[in-house]
């Protein structure tokens, strides 16, 4: 591993625990009107997996690993990019009534 970080068992458990509570708290205040964009948004957030896939591909030593890594990066990149574009398209539509600066241009 290139990073000078080593996360041992207990530290990992602390990280998982704190992150789990954070995720719960962040979501629990979201109004139902935003649930679909939110699901899509959290789908985008786990697109970070592409970073791990890149690491795996760049460190591949055999053809099998290269193939698997390649597929992983394609899928991960699609997850991140697709999640982002879909979420932003949805959110761009939400408007308030008094800011009527012209109709939506399609």
């Amino acid at each position: 591993m290139t990073l000078q970080l080593t996360i041992t068992g207990f530290v990992a458990i602390y990280i998982f625990m704190l992150a789990a509570f954070t995720g719960y708290e962040v979501i629990s205040r979201v109004p139902a009107i935003l649930h679909t964009p939110l699901m899509s948004g959290s789908n985008f957030v786990h697109g970070i997996v592409v970073v791990g896939a890149l690491y795996a591909l760049l460190n591949a030593t055999s053809l099998t690993e290269q193939i698997i890594g390649f597929v992983g990066v394609v899928l991960g990149a699609a997850n991140a990019a697709g999640g982002y574009v879909v979420t932003i398209r949805m959110l761009e539509m939400f408007k308030v009534s008094h800011s009527r600066t012209g109709e939506k241009v399609t």
Binding site: A19, G23, A32, V49, G69
Partner: protein
């Protein structure tokens, strides 16, 4: 050494941006900028990850050029396809698009686990065990999401069930677990065994999702979304990358909460969705609704609404299918111009997933402060002159309040029947998703306007325009 430090620093910032962005999504006002920040963070993370190329493991050194080219190709391919597909998917098809992107994330997580299991001696068996669990969850999420996509996209019409399904599922799951741990304990780094393991995991995802009906898919997608999050978090531990651990785990817990909220809005428990084979119960004999259906002319209904004081619109998925959101908002604007108070009442499960209808209305330009959730508006039906139901059925069925034998009994519904007059725009006399008769349609204060939502709304708009044009002509 410095390089590792730089990447780690970027990852900290990225983790912050992802959490902050998600938090900003709690309000429609800040949501747009929130996702923008998260997007910037993601871009930074990917760019930083490309720096790995300068510092790969010694035995990967000879392949580094080829790997870098492959990585660039893969990034361009994934990004290009997803951006292209995501930019042109219609809003009505959004749920299945989310499903497919989610499945891809699960696939990527499984791929990372696979390279780890096959990789040359990473040693520590705890890490490999976690990789097995991550690979298992990621694979299930991948194949399950693909099935969910096929169902929502109506490529796979009927839920398919076989006898002893649950037994079979349990056996496949067990096989996957045994195979997974054999890849560590019995035959380390055996490609054949690993392939079998991933095959079993993928098969489990398919078997698990096939029996679940289309109506429940949103809950299932949300669950797989959480699963992918967990798989990514576990991979983060395997790769010793805290950004992955944090982002993945946050999605895991947030997704789990969202799944529970969705299931609750549908009056189901998550366990019930996964194992109860909903839809098979709908065939039970229903207490016959009494009375007759009263058809009404679109123009009559429109004129009635034009002179009403308060109108509440209850849209359903039928509206979206007919692509009539824009026409609906045009009608609403005409009514507003005539001094009618108009509000939208959106049921949590209107559309294909919670909040989907809000997105569809927003697409038509409806401001979100006209849209009200069930709890906020239900009492207002009592003093509304007209409730206009468009393409909704089960979510306005009063049987959910009174009929204990009904499969939707107990589900919170919109009390449209409390309005002075109810108009239902409906294509035909068909039943709702749950396949049950709707007592609302037979109520004395309810009239049916038959026809395609789009066509009916055009007629209504015309009727109101004629009405306002006449006095001027005279």
């Amino acid at each position: 050494m410095n390089l590792g430090w730089l990447v780690a620093l970027v990852d900290v910032v990225v983790a912050f941006l992802l959490i902050f962005g998600l938090k900003q999504m709690a309000s429609p006002v800040t949501a747009r900028s929130g996702i923008g920040l998260a997007g910037a963070g993601m871009l930074a993370a990917v760019l930083a990850a490309l720096l790995y190329v300068l510092d790969v493991a010694p035995d990967a050194q000879p392949h580094v050029t080829a790997n870098a080219i492959l990585a660039a190709l893969a990034l361009a391919l994934g990004l290009g396809w997803a951006w292209w597909a995501g930019s042109r998917v219609p809003m009505t098809a959004m749920p299945q698009m989310v499903a497919i992107y989610n499945g891809m994330g699960g696939g990527a997580a499984a791929a990372i686990a696979a390279t780890e299991l096959l990789g040359a001696g990473q040693g520590a068996s705890t890490r490999l065990a976690i990789a097995v669990v991550g690979g298992l969850i990621g694979s299930v999420s991948l194949s399950g999401s693909v099935v969910a996509w096929a169902k929502l996209d109506e490529r796979l019409k009927r839920p398919c069930r076989i006898k002893g399904q649950q037994m079979l599922n349990a056996l496949v799951m067990l096989a996957a677990i045994v195979l997974g741990f054999s890849t560590i304990l019995v035959m380390p780094r055996s490609p054949g065994l690993a392939a079998l393991f991933f095959f079993a995991a993928l098969l489990f995802g398919v078997l698990m999702t096939l029996p679940i009906g289309g109506a429940d898919m949103p809950v299932v997608i949300s669950l797989y979304n959480a699963c992918t999050g967990v798989a990514v978090g576990l991979d983060g531990y395997v790769l010793q990358n805290p950004a992955l651990m944090v982002a993945g785990t946050i999605v895991g817990s947030a997704g789990t909460l969202l799944t529970v909220l969705m299931a609750r809005a549908m009056n189901r428990s998550v366990r019930n969705v996964l194992f109860a084979n909903f839809g098979a119960t709908g065939s039970a004999a229903q207490a016959g609704a009494v009375g007759a259906l009263k058809p009404a002319e679109a123009s009559d209904a429109a004129i009635f609404m034009r002179y009403a004081r308060k109108v509440i619109v209850a849209p359903g998925y039928g509206l979206a299918v007919a692509q009539a959101q824009h026409k609906l908002y045009e009608l609403v604007k005409l009514l507003q111009a005539a001094g009618v108070e108009v509000k939208f009442a959106v049921h949590p499960v209107a559309g294909r997933m919670p909040g989907h209808m809000d997105v569809l209305l927003a697409e038509a330009g409806v401001p979100y402060d006209l849209i009200f959730e069930l709890d906020d508006i239900n009492d207002e039906f009592d003093d509304a002159d007209v409730a206009l139901v468009i393409g909704a059925n089960d979510v306005v069925n009063p049987a959910a309040r009174v009929d204990r034998s009904s499969p939707i009994y107990g589900m919170p519904i919109l009390n449209v029947d409390h309005a002075h007059q109810v108009y239902v725009i409906k294509r035909g006399q068909g039943r709702g998703y749950s396949g049950i008769e709707n007592a609302l349609f037979y109520a004395p204060n309810c009239a049916m306007v038959y026809g395609d939502a789009q066509a009916v709304l055009v007629k209504m708009i015309q009727a109101i325009k004629d009405l306002t044009a006449e006095p001027q002509a005279a």
